[in-house]
C-alpha cells in the first residue's frame, strides 16, 4: 500500500520535473534559421560541386590531364582539350560535370595536381529538370568572370 | 419549461411558439427515421447509427416532456454507453461482409411487418380512443424531487438498479472472458 | 585459451589433414612467409584443415576449411564454445570453378577468438547444408548469400530473395554477372 502511493507520488514528481525542463526551454531564444529568408554562409572547407580555378590571365588552370576523370567513382566528369600549335600545354575546351550523378566525394579535387579545381560553396541547388544539373564548368567560369 | 396550459389559438409558424412546434416535429422525424434505420439497414454499424439518431430524438421528446434530467440520462446511457457497447461488440464479433441472404423464410418480412403494424396500430387506436383524465400534480417533478423519492419511497428501485448493474457487469465479464493463449 | 581449445576440436573433426605440414604453423614465421604462401595457395587448392592465423595480419585467429558435409559438425563446435555468428558470405572463385562459403564467428568474451569456417562447393551446383538449426540468426545471412551467389542452403526454411527483388533470378556477386 505504501509503495502504491509512493509510486504515484514519484511518478507525479517525475512528470513535473519534465514539465519544468520544457518550461525553461520555452523562454530560450530560437535556434533555427528561417531558410528561404535567412541563409548561412558555408564553411571554408565545404565541399560543393567542383568549379574550375582560373589563372591570373583568366584562363583555367586545367591542363586536360584527365586525372579527375579517372578518379571519379561515378564517372560524372567529361573533359576535352586541344593542343594548339606551338604551345606546350593543352587547352581545355570542354569540361562537363554531370551533377546528377556526382556524390560530392571530392576525389577529383584531391587528384588534381595543377590546382585547377575547387569546391563551390553553392548548396541550395534545386530544379525540376535534370538538364539543369549538367554543368558546363567552362561556361560557368566565364559567367563568373563577367 | 413547457407550460402545461394548452394554448388556445394555434401559433403562427414563424412565431417563437411556432418554432418550438417545428423543432418538436423535427424531433419526431429524427426519432422515426432513426428507428427505421435501426431496424432495417443491412449493416449492423448503420443500425447502431440509426439507433443513436433515434435515441437523440427520444431524448428530445423527453425534453419536451418536462424532464431534461431523463433526457440527458437517455443520451448519456444509451448513446454514450449502450450504443458504444453494441458497436464494440460488432467490431469484435461481426466479420465484415457477413451477409447470408435468403436463409430465412421469405415470409418473415411481411409477417414481421404485419405483426408490428398490428401492435403499433392497436396501441395507437387504443391511445386515441381512450379518454385520459388529467389529475392535478402534487409536485413539479424536478431533479431534486427525483433524488429524494429515489432514496426514500423508491429506494427499492434504486437498490435493484445497482444490483442489476453489478450482476450485469460481473456476468458480462464472466461470459465474455476468453483465456488468452500464450 | 579458447583458441587452443577450438583448434583442438577442429583438428579432431578434420583428422585426415592433420599430418600435413600447413595445418600446424608457427605464428612467428608466418608474417615473413605470407607472400610466398599466398602464391602457393593459388596454384594448388588448399586442403581441408585448420590453420592458426596471425591476428595482426588477417584479423582472425583460426581458419578452418571443411567439406560441406562436415559443416554442421564444425558449426556445432563453435556453437558449443559459445561463439556468436558474425556473418555468412560467399566468394566466387570462378577460375577454379568453385564457390567458397565463408562463415565468420566471434566471441563476446575478452578471450577473443575469431574463427572463419569455409567450405568450397562446385560452382555448377552449389549446395551446402543450412546452419539455421544451430544459429537462428543465420537465416538472413544465408538468404543473402543465396541472393548474391545462388548458393542453395539445404533445409533452409524460407529461402526467398531477401535483399533482391522478390522475383529476382540473378545472382549479382557471381563474377560472370554483368549488370
Amino acid at each position: 500500500m505504501v509503495t502504491y502511493f509512493k509510486d504515484i507520488y514519484s511518478g507525479l514528481v517525475s512528470l513535473f520535473i519534465g514539465m519544468e525542463v520544457t518550461f525553461k526551454e520555452f523562454f530560450k531564444p530560437t535556434v533555427t534559421v528561417q531558410y528561404p529568408y535567412e541563409t548561412l554562409t558555408m564553411t571554408e572547407k565545404y565541399r560543393g560541386h567542383v568549379e574550375l580555378i582560373e589563372s591570373d590571365e583568366g584562363k583555367p588552370n586545367c591542363v586536360v590531364c584527365g586525372l579527375c576523370q579517372r578518379a571519379c567513382p561515378s564517372a560524372c566528369i567529361t573533359l576535352a582539350g586541344v593542343k594548339p600549335e606551338g604551345e606546350k600545354k593543352k587547352v581545355l575546351t570542354k569540361y562537363i560535370l554531370d551533377f546528377t550523378r556526382c556524390s560530392l566525394c571530392g576525389s577529383c579535387v584531391e587528384s588534381c595536381n595543377f590546382n585547377a579545381l575547387e569546391f563551390s560553396k553553392e548548396y541550395n541547388l534545386a530544379s525540376t529538370r535534370r538538364e539543369d544539373f549538367i554543368f558546363d564548368l567552362l561556361q560557368r567560369l566565364e559567367a563568373r568572370n563577367k | 419549461m413547457i407550460s402545461s396550459t394548452p394554448i388556445a389559438a394555434p401559433p403562427a409558424l414563424f412565431s417563437a411558439d411556432g418554432l418550438v412546434g417545428v423543432i418538436f416535429l423535427v424531433m419526431i422525424a429524427v426519432t422515426i427515421i432513426g428507428g427505421f434505420i435501426a431496424c432495417n439497414s443491412e449493416r449492423l454499424v448503420r443500425a447502431v447509427a440509426g439507433l443513436i439518431v433515434c435515441f437523440v430524438g427520444v431524448a428530445g421528446l423527453y425534453y419536451f416532456l418536462n424532464s431534461p434530467f431523463v433526457a440527458m440520462m437517455q443520451v448519456l446511457i444509451y448513446v454514450g454507453a449502450v450504443a458504444v457497447t453494441i458497436s464494440f461488440a460488432i467490431m469484435l464479433a461481426a466479420p465484415e461482409e457477413q451477409k447470408k441472404i435468403g436463409v430465412s423464410s421469405p415470409l418473415i418480412g411481411p409477417f414481421g411487418f404485419g405483426t408490428a403494424a398490428l401492435i403499433a396500430g392497436g396501441f395507437s387506436v387504443l391511445a386515441v380512443r381512450t379518454e385520459w383524465p388529467a389529475i392535478a400534480k402534487i409536485n413539479d417533478g424536478s431533479i431534486k424531487k427525483i433524488g429524494i423519492q429515489l432514496l426514500t419511497d423508491y429506494s427499492m428501485v434504486f437498490e435493484l438498479i445497482s444490483i442489476v448493474l453489478l450482476i450485469a457487469i460481473i456476468g458480462a465479464l464472466v461470459i465474455a472472458r476468453v483465456e488468452r493463449k500464450n | 585459451m579458447i583458441i587452443e581449445k577450438t583448434k583442438l576440436a577442429f583438428q579432431k573433426l578434420l583428422p585426415a589433414t592433420e599430418p600435413e605440414p600447413p595445418a600446424v604453423e608457427d605464428p612467428g614465421e608466418e608474417v615473413e612467409e605470407e607472400k610466398g604462401k599466398k602464391a602457393k595457395v593459388k596454384k594448388e587448392p588448399r586442403q581441408n584443415g585448420v590453420i592458426e592465423c596471425d591476428y595482426a595480419v588477417h584479423g582472425y585467429h583460426l581458419d578452418a576449411q571443411v567439406a560441406p558435409e562436415q559443416l554442421i559438425e564444425a558449426v556445432t563446435i563453435v556453437d558449443e564454445a559459445e561463439f556468436f555468428i558474425e556473418s555468412i558470405t560467399g566468394v566466387d572463385w570462378i577460375k577454379e570453378g568453385q564457390i567458397e562459403v565463408v562463415y565468420d564467428f566471434s566471441r563476446y568474451d575478452f578471450d577473443t577468438c575469431r574463427v572463419v569456417i569455409r567450405t568450397r562447393v562446385n560452382r555448377d551446383n552449389p549446395v551446402v547444408p543450412t546452419i539455421t538449426t544451430i544459429y537462428a540468426g543465420a537465416n538472413w545471412h544465408e538468404r543473402e548469400t543465396h541472393d548474391f551467389f545462388g548458393i542453395k542452403f539445404d533445409g533452409h526454411p524460407h529461402l526467398i530473395p531477401l535483399l533482391l527483388p522478390e522475383d529476382a533470378d540473378f545472382h549479382p556477386l557471381l563474377k560472370d554477372f554483368k549488370a
Binding site: I8, E25, T32, Q34 | D17, M73 | -
Partner: protein, 331 residues
C-alpha cells in the same frame, strides 16, 4: 420555453462560430507553443506572428477533395466527422461564460455536458469502422476503451464537486466559489469546500480530461508512430478538418469544465471586476497547460493507460468520493 429555445438556436450558431474560431486559433497556438518549447519560431510567415495561418489552412483544407476509400461505408464515413463536432457545439450551449453570457442554463448542466461528451467516442468508432483500414479500426477500438475507462473516474470526481455544491447547475457552482480565490473548489479548507482532498479531485479530473479529449500523453487513438494517424488515417480535406476542430473544441469544453468546477469560473481571484475575461484567462491558461503537457511527455501504452484508470484513478476517486461525503456529513 419559447424564448429559451430561440436562445438555444442563436447560441448554437454562436457556439459553432466560437468553436470554429477557437479550434482554428488553438491550432495556431499549439504550433507556436510547440515551436517555442522546441526553440523554433513556428508559423510566422502569413500575417503578423503567422496569425493568418489558420484561415489559410482552412481554405486549403476546404479546397481539397474528400477522397472516400473504396469499400468504405460512405454514409458513416462522411457522417463521422460531423458527429465529432456536434457534442462540443451542444455543450457550449449550456456553459456559462459569465453571469449573463450563457445560452441556456439548464439545471442539469453538468449532466448535459457529460452526456454529449460521451457521444464523442461514437464518431471515432464510426470513422474507424467506415474507413476500412486496419489502423483506423485498431485506433477506434483503443479510443473506445479509453473513453469508457476515463469517463468513470471523471464522473465520480465530478460528483464530489456536485456534493459540495449541492447542485448540478453550473451557474450555481460558480456562484458558490465567487467570493474570493480561497473559495475556489480547488483550494480546500475555506468556503463551502471543506474537502481537503479537492486538489486530488482536481488532478484526477484534469488527467481524465486529458484522456477524454485524446490528448497526449493519452493520444492512443491517433498514435502516429504505430497507427499512422489512427481513426482519421483515411480522411483528407474538411473531413480531417472537422476532426481536428472537434478535438480542439473538446479541449475547450474540457478546460471550461475544469474552470467552472474547480477554478471559480468567471470570478476574479481577488474579487475584482468579475467577468468573462477572467473565465477566458483561466480557460486559455488551462489550454496552454494542455499544449505544454503534450509537447513534454511521450505517449503511454494502451495497457498503461487502462491500468492508470482502473488501478489508480478509479480507486482513488472512489476513496475521494467516500471521504468527501464523510467530510460533508461531519462538518
Amino acid at each position: 420555453m419559447s424564448l429559451t429555445l430561440l436562445n438555444v438556436i442563436f447560441a448554437v450558431v454562436v457556439a459553432i462560430a466560437f468553436a470554429a474560431a477557437n479550434a482554428a486559433y488553438l491550432v495556431w497556438a499549439e504550433r507556436r507553443g510547440a515551436a517555442r518549447i522546441q526553440r523554433r519560431p513556428g508559423p510566422n510567415i502569413n500575417g503578423p506572428f503567422g496569425l493568418l495561418q489558420p484561415p489559410l489552412d482552412g481554405i486549403k483544407l476546404m479546397a481539397k477533395q474528400l477522397i472516400i476509400p473504396g469499400g468504405a461505408d460512405k454514409v458513416l464515413f462522411i457522417g463521422a466527422p460531423v458527429l465529432a463536432m456536434y457534442p462540443a457545439i451542444m455543450s457550449f450551449v449550456t456553459i456559462p461564460f459569465s453571469d449573463s453570457i450563457v445560452a441556456h442554463n439548464i439545471n442539469v448542466g453538468i449532466l448535459m455536458i457529460f452526456a454529449f461528451a460521451s457521444t464523442g467516442s461514437m464518431s471515432l468508432i464510426f470513422a474507424g469502422w467506415s474507413s476500412r483500414n486496419k489502423y483506423s479500426m485498431m485506433s477506434a477500438v483503443r479510443a473506445v476503451s479509453q473513453s469508457v475507462a476515463y469517463e468513470i473516474p471523471m464522473l465520480i470526481t465530478t460528483i464530489t464537486v456536485v456534493m459540495i455544491a449541492g447542485s448540478m447547475d453550473l451557474m450555481e457552482i460558480v456562484h458558490q466559489q465567487s467570493s474570493s480565490i480561497l473559495h475556489w473548489n480547488i483550494f480546500p479548507l475555506l468556503g463551502k469546500s471543506h474537502n481537503i482532498l479537492m486538489p486530488a479531485s482536481f488532478l484526477i479530473f484534469f488527467i481524465c480530461t486529458l484522456a477524454e479529449t485524446n490528448r497526449a500523453p493519452f493520444d492512443l487513438g491517433e498514435a502516429e508512430s504505430e497507427l499512422v494517424a489512427g481513426f482519421h488515417t483515411e480522411y483528407g480535406s474538411m473531413g480531417f478538418g472537422l476532426f481536428f476542430m472537434g478535438e480542439y473544441a473538446n479541449i475547450v469544453i474540457g478546460s471550461c469544465m475544469t474552470t467552472i468546477l474547480f477554478l471559480g469560473g468567471w470570478s476574479c481571484p481577488f474579487g475584482l471586476f468579475p467577468g468573462v475575461w477572467w473565465f477566458l484567462l483561466k480557460l486559455y491558461l488551462l489550454i496552454a497547460t494542455f499544449i505544454w503537457i503534450r509537447w513534454t511527455f511521450p505517449r503511454t501504452t494502451i495497457y498503461g493507460l487502462l491500468n492508470l484508470s482502473w488501478k489508480i484513478l478509479i480507486p482513488l476517486s472512489l476513496v475521494n468520493l467516500l471521504l468527501t461525503a464523510g467530510l460533508i456529513k461531519v462538518f
